[in-house]
């Protein structure tokens, strides 16, 4: 009897009721702002000041989406964001993978080099962006796509390098060694053998680099203005209007969060590695 009772008792996490109440409240807390944003984005402007608030818009409209994308140049921002994020992601994945391979297989530069790269992750962006702004203005990279692509590549490199570093160290060397014995050069062993084997890890690292670029605001705010502006910086236009542009802001937010959430949820198996730069295997 006693054994049966104790087997039913939860081992971890407290009483079941308390667990589900906590989870329920937390789910509401997470979903509520997202729902309200969606609600605002399809609500006619006349409903904004209604009391009680309009919980379910009865006459949904897509007008705010149209205004946000075309009048507020949201579409341009979206295209810029795509160009810049995709290019920076590709560069970051390529350079990160090559560097990580060298660190993992040849222990290049010992611990110093790998920790130096890691330390870049923790530099406060304000310390970098001020001088980069001055340098970019001098060399003509200010407010260009190339400028922001280069900045984003550097800013995502620590994550790419460390995620791939952990991935290569978890991969057996035997295939590459066999390739070397068979007469491959080291480059061929890397490019033809190790890279295809590491493809899932590279994709995961690229997804996190893309999300980081897609959601980045600070660099984009200070290094671009009217040409290479990205989607998050378009939100500047909605500040200080005391509500008049809320539908547009909400609509643009909904457009912008779809790609990164879709990618993130698809890659959630790798989330722990992504968040801890490969330090923890999820």
């Amino acid at each position: 009897m006693a054994a049966v009772r104790s087997a039913r008792r939860p081992r971890r996490g407290g009483a079941p009721v308390a667990r589900f109440v906590l989870l329920g409240f937390f789910l509401i807390f997470v979903l509520w702002p997202l729902y309200w944003m969606f609600n605002t984005s399809v609500k006619p402007s006349d409903d904004y000041l209604a009391t009680p608030p309009v919980w379910f818009p009865t006459e949904p409209t897509l007008l705010h989406y149209e205004v946000a994308l075309f009048t507020y140049r949201g579409l341009e921002g979206l295209i810029n964001s795509l160009i810049i994020s995709l290019s920076a992601t590709a560069l970051s994945a390529l350079l990160g993978t090559t560097m990580a391979y060298s660190l993992a297989r040849y222990n290049t530069g010992g611990q110093h080099l790998s920790f130096w790269v890691l330390s870049q992750r923790f530099l406060p962006p304000i310390g970098i962006v001020l001088p980069v702004f001055l340098i970019y203005r001098q060399v003509g990279l200010y407010d260009t796509h190339v400028g922001l692509i280069v900045a984003y590549t550097v800013f995502t490199l620590p994550v790419s390098v460390w995620m791939m570093f952990a991935y290569f160290r978890g991969m057996p060397r035997s295939m590459e060694e066999a390739a070397l014995v068979d007469g491959c050069t080291r480059w061929e062993a890397f490019w033809r053998v190790a890279v295809p084997l590491a493809a899932p890890g590279i994709v995961a690292a690229a997804v996190f680099a893309f999300i980081a670029c897609w959601t980045e605001f600070f660099f984009a705010l200070l290094l671009t203005s009217r040409t290479a502006f990205t989607l998050p910086t378009v939100f500047r236009a909605f500040i200080g209007f005391q509500g008049a542009q809320y539908g547009e802001a909400a609509a643009l937010a909904i457009v912008s969060l779809v790609p990164s959430i879709a990618l993130g949820v698809l890659a959630q198996r790798h989330l722990v590695r992504g968040l801890t730069l490969g330090a923890v295997r999820g």
Partner: protein
């Protein structure tokens, strides 16, 4: 002749491949060639700018004052003796400390609630991690939509719950605007804590709990005797990573309060941004950013040293 080919391959095996002199050189320096592009890029866009900013902070580089004269420590003095700078540093420490503490406790509670399987756990998991993939700008925007008077529904909901009218200026009145900023940060980053702590919880061997239960240990004692010590390295890792990001707090403030009213919601990053980019005192801003960098480095060294100590213990 397939046979001859096989023989040449066999004799070739183990011997170094024949290469041109360039390819030979490249093969010998292979490991350095692989790291070179990434290292050069980091040097060009991170180390060089940092050194450049160190130079700028000792000269006059101000869009309002002509010339680039050497001014010694004057720029640093201006920051150190600016009450707004000290306030912003204090606020950064308070806001990030409070936010991270709440995120940690809440994240741990949710992780404990999620550790055992139940129907629908996969869906709940996918929903809980969504805030991690949203731009902080949009998080700020979403909370502005909820809180801004008179448009946001928050005061109405609170009024209905409490049975009396609520007229709080969530984004304009102290202390509510600090609470709003903390809530937005907690909304976005509690999942970060939760995901890492959950990974730590699932790696604790369940037989430890079974053994404890046979010994008559209750759940609360088991939590302190088993869960906490096993989870400690993960806790420190999550806290370190999160704290180092929290002290950069800028985006939500930019959208939600714009640093105001007055300078009451200036964080260190926001202060340096206004000094550099709205007042164009670039030298003062770079001097301040170096001071901030040194503070950050101190925090990193302290926390990472603790982290290493726990992992080797």
């Amino acid at each position: 002749m397939p046979q001859t080919a096989a023989i040449t391959r066999m004799t070739g095996a183990g011997a170094p491949p024949r290469l041109s002199s360039f390819a030979n050189w490249a093969d010998r320096h292979f490991k350095w060639l692989l790291v070179a592009p990434a290292v050069l890029l980091i040097l060009a866009l991170s180390i060089y700018p940092l050194l450049f900013s160190l130079v700028v902070s000792f000269i006059n580089y101000d869009f309002q004052v002509p010339g680039h004269a050497f001014v010694g420590l004057k720029n640093f003095e201006r920051v150190v003796f600016d009450p707004v700078a000290r306030w912003s540093l204090l606020l950064t420490a308070l806001l990030s400390g409070i936010s991270v503490a709440i995120e940690f406790v809440l994240g741990l509670a949710v992780a404990l609630a999620m550790v055992r399987s139940f129907p629908g756990r996969g869906v709940v998991m996918s929903i809980l991690i969504v805030p991690l993939f949203i731009s902080p700008v949009i998080v700020g925007q979403a909370w502005t939509l909820l809180l801004q008077r008179p448009f946001g529904p928050t005061n109405y909901i609170l009024g209905a719950l409490l049975g009396q009218e609520v007229t709080i200026g969530w984004l304009t009145e102290s202390p509510w605007l600090y609470i709003s900023l903390v809530v937005a940060d907690v909304w976005q980053w509690t999942p970060f804590m939760f995901v890492i702590l959950l990974a730590g919880l699932t790696s604790i061997p369940p037989n430890l709990y079974e053994a404890a239960e046979l010994d008559g240990v209750n759940a609360w004692q088991a939590f302190w005797a088993i869960t906490v010590p096993h989870l400690a390295p993960m806790m420190l890792l999550a806290l370190t990573f999160r704290l180092l990001d929290a002290i950069r707090m800028f985006d939500t403030i930019f959208i939600m309060t714009g640093g105001g009213p007055g300078t009451s919601t200036y964080t260190a990053s926001y202060y340096l941004y206004t000094v550099g980019f709205t007042q164009f005192h670039l030298s003062q801003a770079t001097a301040g950013s170096w001071l901030f960098l040194i503070f950050t480095a101190l925090v990193v060294t302290l926390l990472v040293r603790r982290l290493l100590k726990v992992e080797t213990a």
